[in-house]
Symmetry: C2
Subunit: 705 residues, 2 copies
């Protein structure tokens, strides 16, 4: 997507420009003009001759020269027609600011469809409707095509928002915080371009170093992953993407048919999606910008080791606490560094990390210690903390910090505790491009995100594996259930499906008569679990349909008859297809592996701790299928209970490669067999290294036809 | 503790007042003078005649009139002598600002001891040394006895800090945020008064409505609980206390002897202590003040039901998300309220909670809807959100919000998205005493804290129970181990100790000969667990000392010999005291109940999920013993795994009263038997309602003598 016609037009027509100073049509025109737009501005309004000293054109067609961009502010019902006129005029891009579309109900939705049709007809890139507009600070363009009150400073942060109101709030906030932008794009109803199209544009935008998103939904989750992953993941040109996704839903109390289904609330889908795309999700606007600032102004740290230099003990401890909470570490400094610090600092100072320069520290102590600490090979990044004490000259210290940051390739962040006032050194920090925070928590959080992004860039690249499986056999099983009008596969079918996809299923067989029991048991081995096979029995245990721990053939034959008799007695109308005979599996660590087809995003994989704790601790992780090998590995390693799988308190480590393979095989199944709606392997029992795993119980639900 | 002599003195001597404008002695004097102190100021310095126009006295004794408060800034070695002089002069309180005491090493520590001795000798309340000073904004006093740069505005928030530097940062921050204080107290090294003494003073201070603490340690945890609990818990005069406790330690990798020991890192002690004291712990200075402001300016909500009124959808969703994350709810509005809103608002508005007034909303829409929503009986509190859009007049809206807040007893908080600029309505909100936040998260967090505090005030009051136990028997067990020079009780002794304190122990007996096995088993019943009893065997399983599931007497007799033979073979030098015979307990939910005597705070109780997940999920909670009945109940109910105990997925609910009783009994044991250092009941098996529990395995460690 080439966004140039939209963001770097040579001429803009403001269709619906107005003389009424309280109107949006006036505000947009004025912003373009006052913002210093470098191209031509054509106001369009049949009822006006002149607005703010500019000649007004009665229609788009009446404009003498070519028009690159049309900004549309006319009433909603007129918009489809205007888009058509734009097409005829040869306009190259449209921003529809007007509201009154699908956000207002059915009538508006139809209007919006008409707008879409017209845009598609003329192959016109369109932003909106129902948006604040777009804004490009590039000095060669300087286009404020919004009705916001301010033109922000130029910078390297692009902000892409599904809420126009949030854009105005962000502009207000950015002004006071001195945050600069490359572009601000209010996406509105996304009738034409959506976040993915715009992301592609920002990928190629030389002014943009960091991309921020505010999303309420995603048009196409899979395309989003693909594109965002490419943008975030490029080792050389990668740009960090930070996102707020609002509209987290409380977990569904709705009836669900599987563990996977009940755990996969829509919000988890977004977590999965962002993780796979390398997009960092944050919860608040403040965190979004605090972090963006660090990304835009400082280099990435090589690792998680943070040094803190402070003029006060208490705040140093607070910063340390915060580092530990955020998964960063405070390394010990090298002996050489400590020696340098000892020379430069008074004896009351602490030369260990966090380095405490003591309350009467002036800029010279900062200069000496920042230099020494930044040269320490144990240190990946530095937070320079200062509290405004009696002797503290924050301006001088700010200059020293700026100097230190210039002389290193490690990120340097500053925290002047409690300081808001720009006169107090924070203006100097802004000029020096050292991000400044009022309290240490925000600085630490930004560093943690930077480390996380560095790790994402440096992750090993793996591919989606294809296993040789018996897809045909799996399809036969589905067809059979379909023919019988069932959406649930029975136990035997579910296990057979697992076998077809190479998942580790304990030996099983079906016995339809007492004579078949012996043969079945010979195949599986003892001890046995025996379960009634019936499409009509939902709760097997309740009707006496399950018996465990059967030690030998004689007992098995007897149990076979007992099961059939009991079930017949308790549920006389049930069709009985025989008894499933399985070798009982030894105990191990109970995991869960599942699949749920999300209505919008497709197959979602779940992996986590199984058994009775699954819904209490929700120690599970999600990914959209297909997963790469590394993705499957990350699913396993991101669990809290990974500690158990690693071997713990005398337990041997689990067979991790097998668990990863199981995830990859279910991923392949999810992609191959679109008719499977939900699948639960619970428990998937993990055994010790080299001993594999066992899919002990499997439930498979097909999509309703 | 009457703090009047310290905080409302009629006269202050500044001992070490100085003409050097860069000195602390100058800064304090100037602050007292410029701050508008209502009493007399006496500079004391033998080398000066006059400072800043004030007559300087050569010594304390030379001051003609009485002196209530002495502020001491002389060099550390002179301080003990000065304190003595204060005593002789009849001074009523001292603040030692001078540093150079225990924070600098051994020499300083000795000096500090001397200061302490002198203060005690003269029975003088003393704050410091090594502090910023103290500050009282009460218009009748107006005392700034600190060397900070600013006198803050008067307000109802008291700030008590163990870090002087943090006080300066807070003053700086408060200035820009318009936060007022009643008192600021920099505690320094706490050689005289500590946080508990000062809390008592603030309890009785009519100017103080909210108390904020910054702590790095606590002098006396039990007294802290007692005093803070009284301050926070009083239904009529209760004052909320919010605390930052810094110096969270990463969990100990150190060798520990029990689960309880390994889980009870020092930070958990503080969590327990704050929970018991009703003190709300926060992690950042920003949260501390954002929350304090709401407490100081608005009434407490009756419950957790929040209404949101907004002029923009996106920010409304963000606020809703935040409410759900913080455990607040968004109630449905009553039909009557919706009807009122429908009349007042345009058809595009949303009349459901969050109420969306739409982007062009002016103050009239806010006025109508705030009134209607606040009258709704389903609503406990309100957040008024506004984004600065084209038509938005934030000043007018601020006035309307102020009006609405005045007309209700429900708390009203405002969030003008992104707005920092005081001209934009936030000044008006300050005047109207409606707390203002730039983004919704902080407002929601404050409301959540207010709800939490309301619940604390309204909690049922219970007492510490005393059970009839056999304390004498327990002491005999301890004496026996002591006589044998052991710190570990053996299994039989540990179980007997549990019996003595009425904890549910499965039947057990000791067999020393094959003949005794039969009698023992008759007492306990089958199936049996049999375990070697030996003070020398640490890992019983490793030497073949444990056998489970023994079905009958014959097998038991055989097993008895086998155990003895195997252990003799594998550990020939071990003293063997026989075999412990226990009836095996049926499976249930495995919990852990433990006790660890904290070096500083005394007995710490632990309760949580047991078994192999205990250290992975750390689903445990702590309290200092003794616990009240409600405290024990809260320990059970605060667990994530409480869902399992409540009955879950077909499992029956657990015997909660029995679990609570077990906690209370261990609490009593902790108080009675000071020699017990650590105790682990793991697992404590919880059975279904009415079926009790079983202390299946117990380890008890005595304090080293």
């Amino acid at each position: 997507m080439n966004l140039d016609p939209l963001f770097s037009p040579k001429s803009v027509a403001v269709i619906g420009a107005s003389r009424d100073e309280a109107s949006v049509g006036h505000a947009v025109l004025k912003n373009l003009f006052l913002g210093g737009f470098k191209g031509k501005i054509y106001p369009v309004n049949p009822k006006a001759r002149e607005i703010e000293g500019m000649i007004c054109h009665p229609s788009l067609a009446a404009i003498p020269g070519p028009v690159d961009l049309a900004v549309v502010i006319v009433k909603a019902p007129l918009v489809p027609e205007v888009v058509d006129q734009c097409g005829q005029k040869g306009v190259k891009g449209i921003v529809v600011i007007s509201s009154g579309f699908k956000e207002t109900g059915e009538e508006g939705r139809l209007l919006e469809e008409a707008v879409k049709r017209q845009a598609r007809l003329h192959n016109l890139p369109l932003i909106g409707p129902n948006c604040l507009g777009i804004l490009n600070t590039d000095p060669a363009v300087r286009m404020n095509a919004t009705f916001a009150k301010e033109m922000p400073a130029a910078g390297s942060i692009a902000f892409l928002s599904q809420s126009g109101a949030l854009c105005t709030a962000v502009l207000e906030y950015a002004k006071s915080e001195g945050i600069g932008f490359s572009k601000i794009i209010s996406m509105g109803n996304k009738a034409g371009l959506d976040e993915v199209d715009l992301l592609i544009g920002l990928r190629d935008d030389p002014q943009t170093k960091v991309i921020l998103l505010y999303l309420e939904d995603l048009a196409d989750g899979r395309r989003f992953i693909e594109v965002a992953r490419e943008i975030t993941g490029d080792e050389k040109k990668g740009k960090p993407v930070l996102a707020i996704k609002s509209g987290r839903t409380p977990e569904g109390a709705k009836a669900v048919s599987s563990h996977t289904g009940s755990l996969a609330g829509s919000d988890e889908v977004y977590d999965a999606l962002f993780a796979q795309a390398g997009v960092m999700r944050v919860d608040s606007v403040e965190e979004l910008f605090a972090t963006a600032r660090a990304f835009s102004e400082q280099p990435l740290p090589a690792g998680r080791r943070v040094a803190i230099v402070t003029n006060a003990g208490g705040p140093g401890i607070m910063a340390t606490d915060s580092c530990i909470r955020q998964g960063l570490t405070l390394p010990a400094l090298e002996a050489g560094t400590v020696a340098k610090l000892k020379t430069a600092l008074p004896p009351t100072a602490s030369t260990r990390n966090p380095v405490d320069l003591v309350g009467d520290a002036r800029e010279d102590r900062y200069a000496a210690s920042l230099g020494a600490v930044l040269e320490d090979p144990n240190v990946d990044s530095l937070i320079a903390l200062a509290t405004p004490q009696a002797m503290t000259d924050l301006e001088a210290i700010a200059r020293v910090i700026g100097q230190a940051a210039k002389g290193t390739r490690k990120p340097v962040l500053a925290c002047f505790m409690g300081v808001t006032d720009v006169s107090n050194g924070s203006r100097i920090l802004r000029e020096e491009r050292v991000p400044h925070y009022r309290f240490p928590e925000a600085a630490v959080r930004a560093l943690a995100r930077m480390s996380q992004y560095r790790e994402w860039l440096e992750r090993p690249r793996t591919m989606v594996k294809r296993f040789r499986v018996d897809e045909a056999a799996a399809k036969v099983l589905i067809r059979k259930a379909r023919l019988e009008g069932r959406v649930w596969l029975d136990q035997a079918e579910s296990l057979a499906m697992m076998e077809a996809y190479g998942l580790p299923v304990p030996p099983f067989a079906i016995a339809r008569s007492p004579e078949e029991v012996r043969r079945a048991a010979e195949k599986t081995g003892f001890p046995l679990a025996m379960k009634i096979l019936s499409p009509d029995v939902l709760h097997k245990v309740d009707v006496g349909g399950v018996r465990l721990g059967i030690p030998d053939t004689a007992a098995a034959e007897k149990t076979f008859s007992e099961i059939l008799d009991t079930v017949r007695l308790r549920q006389p109308d049930a069709r009985l297809d025989g008894v499933l005979i399985q070798k009982m599996v030894p105990p191990g660590t109970e995991m869960i592996l599942g699949l749920k087809r999300d209505r919008q995003f497709g197959p979602l994989l779940l992996f986590g701790l199984g058994g009775i704790y699954v819904e209490v601790f929700k120690d599970v992780t999600f990914r959209l299928a297909p997963v790469r090998e590394l993705g499957a590995e990350r699913m396993v390693k991101s669990l809290r209970s990974f500690r158990i799988l690693q071997g713990f308190r005398g337990q041997p480590p689990a067979d991790l490669p097998k668990l990863i393979e199981c995830i990859e095989r279910v991923s392949q199944l999810a992609v191959d067999l679109e008719e499977i709606e939900e699948l639960d392997i619970n428990p998937l029992i993990a055994y010790a290294e080299g001993k594999g795993a066992a899919a002990a119980d499997v439930r498979i639900l097909l999509r309703k036809e």
